[in-house]
């Protein structure tokens, strides 16, 4: 099966091509083609997983490589191909599973219910139904390709394909047809801006990543994963001291971290992810929670041998601190958001911070484990939130409340996802999050500063995670409805939507056991040959913190349910801090006042230069040419044309005289000839 791993890319891209070229008129055919494509990829991915599992950790030491030459560069070739190591194998299984669930869910989600002017309910497909499935198929191509890439350049290509899909899908509702009722014009404007913001913000990270890639290529001369992680190649970049005073390994690792910060929405480039929630909810689930944003974490995991070298220690510290800070920072913002999807977006940023921090403290297995479990439970949370939005028609939690009576399955699914997110045993998030915390705890106890700082921040983040998730549950599903008309309109989603929810809920509940120490931690053994020991103190602290957070949420929102128009109890408690959190620490405003204003000023300066200097020069040259042209024209008219005309006039007049000679009478000619002959004879005779 390893030899056919490329099929995971071929199936979805074929689906994309078919939909774009042939099937875009038929909504059903497009949807089922996309699902068939991802299902094919799923079969291949699980085939690979089944073949890889018996090999165990041997596969990590000797990954499977298949590659061919792509294009020449000097004496060497850039290659293309696929690489299968335990990380890629589990990622393949995770990505295809979540993708399939989300694709199926989308079949229902992209049908909208809306009321006509008489108040009757109608259902109709989104007019861009086929396009949606084409985009998500292309996205699946990008993600699966990235996972199996055998070199950094190929990985970058797929990375950018995903960036493109992300842009297209965030801005999916940036054009509104007059017949559409499920989106309004304000939303269209927001979608446009969000798509641009996401694309430009991640672009910053991408450029930094690209520079790191170039630096690596200059030093090592290849980007193939099987060549850059050899001891000889690593020695090349760990022993040379750059002008910055550190080995180039540290610089390259820092630059690659830049790519991760952009793609995985880490501080300070996290601002695009919450806005990305303007896209359809399955997209938020798939791209902006479960898979694409995980690509940044995957990148660090993929380049882990480089980060692991002692020379790259400064970069590792940066990874750990960026991740831990982001985890805490985003979790606090999540407390003060009213949009159900935005809370989840900040939660995603926070959880990605957990993974990055885990990798930063060298807890490779824990970080990748959290990557996998998070994908399942975050996809579940998003799809449940999507189901809520689909039913009630708004994102605003202040207009929800009491939905558990109307949407039982969704409520249950959401709560399962929420428990997993909070890290309550035995749900998936507990095992992975606990392992990260336990690793940090164990290292922190040994007196290492960075893991200690990371641990404190992550514990804080865990508390806030439980608090905002609890707030979400109580505000959305419990209490009394705060917007009665919307509540009456609410309905449970169709089976095509809740069946994927149920399957993902099963995963969110049980997937954690593959990494549970009580079952021998098969996941960690497979991925990193680690056997984590269950630390009861660390686990006790983290569960205690989570329960405390949930308890506080119950006290604030569960005990006395919020009434319509009532002030949020947290805002009374926090005072000015609430304003700060609600405005996301004003990061957007700070960027607006600094980076964006500077960019606009710089652009205005350039525009002025363009207008006065560049255009001025061009205009001057043009004016001179025009003048010179006028002079030439004068010469042409008076001299050149004058000469030609004079020749013509002369010929005309002269021929007018000659015409008189040609009378057309033969006898005249004869007379002239004879006269001439006589004349010549006479001249001859008198000579």
């Amino acid at each position: 099966m390893f030899n056919f791993a490329f099929l995971v890319v071929v199936f979805p891209i074929t689906a994309f091509t078919l939909i774009v070229l042939f099937l875009n008129r038929s909504h059903r055919a497009s949807a089922w083609t996309a699902i068939a494509g991802i299902f094919g990829a799923l079969i291949v991915a699980y085939g690979i997983l089944l073949e890889a599992l018996p090999q165990g950790h041997e596969l990590a030491k000797h990954p499977f490589f298949a590659k061919f030459n792509w294009f020449p560069a000097g004496q060497s070739f850039f290659t293309m191909g696929w690489m299968l190591d335990p990380l890629a194998v589990v990622m393949l299984a995770m990505v295809t599973t979540t993708c399939l669930m989300i694709f199926i869910y989308s079949v229902g989600y992209m049908r909208h219910r809306h009321a006509d002017e008489h108040g009757h309910m109608h259902e109709s497909d989104d007019p861009r139904y086929s396009r949606f499935f084409a985009y998500i198929s292309l996205f699946a191509t990008g993600m699966l390709g990235l996972v199996i890439s055998s070199n950094l350049l190929e990985l970058f290509v797929f990375w950018e394909i995903m960036g493109l899909c992300s842009y297209l899908l965030i801005g999916f509702w940036s054009i509104r047809l007059p017949t559409e009722h499920h989106i309004d014009d304000a939303q269209v404007g927001r979608a446009k801006n969000a798509a641009l913001k996401a694309f430009l913000t991640t672009r910053i990270g991408d450029v930094i990543f690209f520079i790191g890639m170039l630096w690596l290529y200059i030093r090592v001369g290849t980007l193939d994963f099987d060549k850059i992680f050899t001891p000889a190649a690593l020695k090349l970049i760990t022993t040379d001291i750059t002008a910055f005073g550190v080995p180039s390994a540290a610089i390259i690792a820092l630059l690659i971290l830049g790519g991760t910060i952009g793609k995985s929405a880490q501080f300070p480039l996290h601002v695009w992810l919450p806005d990305a929630m303007e896209g359809p909810t399955p997209v938020s689930a798939l791209i902006h929670a479960a898979t694409m944003v995980a690509a940044g974490v995957f990148l660090i995991a993929r380049m882990f041998p480089l980060f692991e070298t002692p020379a790259a220690a400064p970069a590792m510290a940066a990874v750990a601190l960026v991740g831990a800070f982001t985890a805490l920072f985003a979790a606090t913002i999540g407390l003060a958001q009213d949009d159900i999807k935005r809370v989840l977006a900040y939660s995603t940023i926070s959880q990605l911070g957990y993974m990055v921090a885990a990798l930063g403290i060298a807890a490779f297995a824990a970080g990748t484990f959290h990557l996998i479990t998070h994908a399942f439970f975050k996809a579940l949370l998003f799809l449940s939130a999507g189901s809520v939005i689909h039913g009630i028609g708004t994102n605003d939690m202040m207009k929800m409340g009491g939905l558990r009576k109307k949407m039982g399955i969704t409520t249950l699914a959401f709560i399962v996802g929420a428990f997993a997110l909070m890290g309550l045993p035995p749900f998936a998030g507990f095992w992975s999050k606990d392992e990260i915390l336990a690793d940090a705890f164990a290292h922190g106890l040994k007196g290492e500063i960075i893991p200690l700082v990371v641990y404190i921040m992550l514990i804080g983040a865990a508390f806030f995670t439980a608090l905002y998730t609890g707030r979400q549950i109580f505000l959305t599903f419990f209490g009394a409805p705060r917007d009665q008309p919307a509540h009456d309109h609410a309905h449970e989603s169709p089976a095509v939507m809740w069946v994927p929810l149920a399957i993902l809920a099963l995963f969110a509940t049980f997937i954690g056991f593959v990494g549970a120490p009580f079952f021998g931690s098969p996941f960690q053994v497979f991925v990193a040959e680690e056997k984590p020991v269950f630390n009861f103190i660390a686990a006790g602290i983290s569960v205690g913190v989570a329960v405390a957070g949930l308890g506080l949420a119950w006290l604030l929102y569960g005990l006395r349910p919020l009434k319509a128009g009532q002030r949020d109890p947290l805002s009374r408690m926090l005072g000015p801090l609430w304003t700060l959190l609600r405005n996301k620490y004003f990061v957007d405003e700070i960027y607006g006042a600094t980076v964006i204003r500077f960019t606009i000023l710089f652009a205005a300066l350039n525009a002025a230069i363009d207008k006065w200097i560049v255009d001025g020069t061009v205009n001057l040259v043009g004016k001179f040419s025009a003048l010179f042209g006028r002079f030439n024209r004068w010469i042409d008219e008076n001299f050149v044309d004058g000469f030609v005309n004079q020749v013509g006039l002369f010929t005309d007049e002269f021929s007018g005289g000659l015409r008189a000679l040609q009378t057309g009478r033969v006898q005249n000619y004869l007379l002239i000839a004879i006269t001439g002959a006589a004349l010549f004879a006479f001249l001859f005779l008198i000579r």
Partner: protein, 112 residues
Amino acid sequence: MTFKGFMIPLTNYLVLSLALFCIGLFGALARRNAIAILMGIELMLNAVNINLVAFWRYVKPAQPAFDLTGQIFALFVITLAAAEAAIGLALIIAIYRSRDTVNVEDVNLMKG
């Protein structure tokens, strides 16, 4: 024409030939009828023939028995005149058929 002790002088022949040529030239230039013009041309050619034969006789040839240049020249001219008459008449008939006239004053298509 070799009568013993008496020969008509060459001048007489030349005067005859000149008269004949001038009559022919006047006909060719002054007549309006195309046929008459053709006849004038014939007269001019024959004036030339008289000249040729007369000069052959009076300008002493080295061996008169063999040197027949003037005679042969005259024969050529006669042949040519016959051909010319044939072509000229054919042209005149063609003009007559197309324009219903043989008056050369009316045939001035080539007037510039």
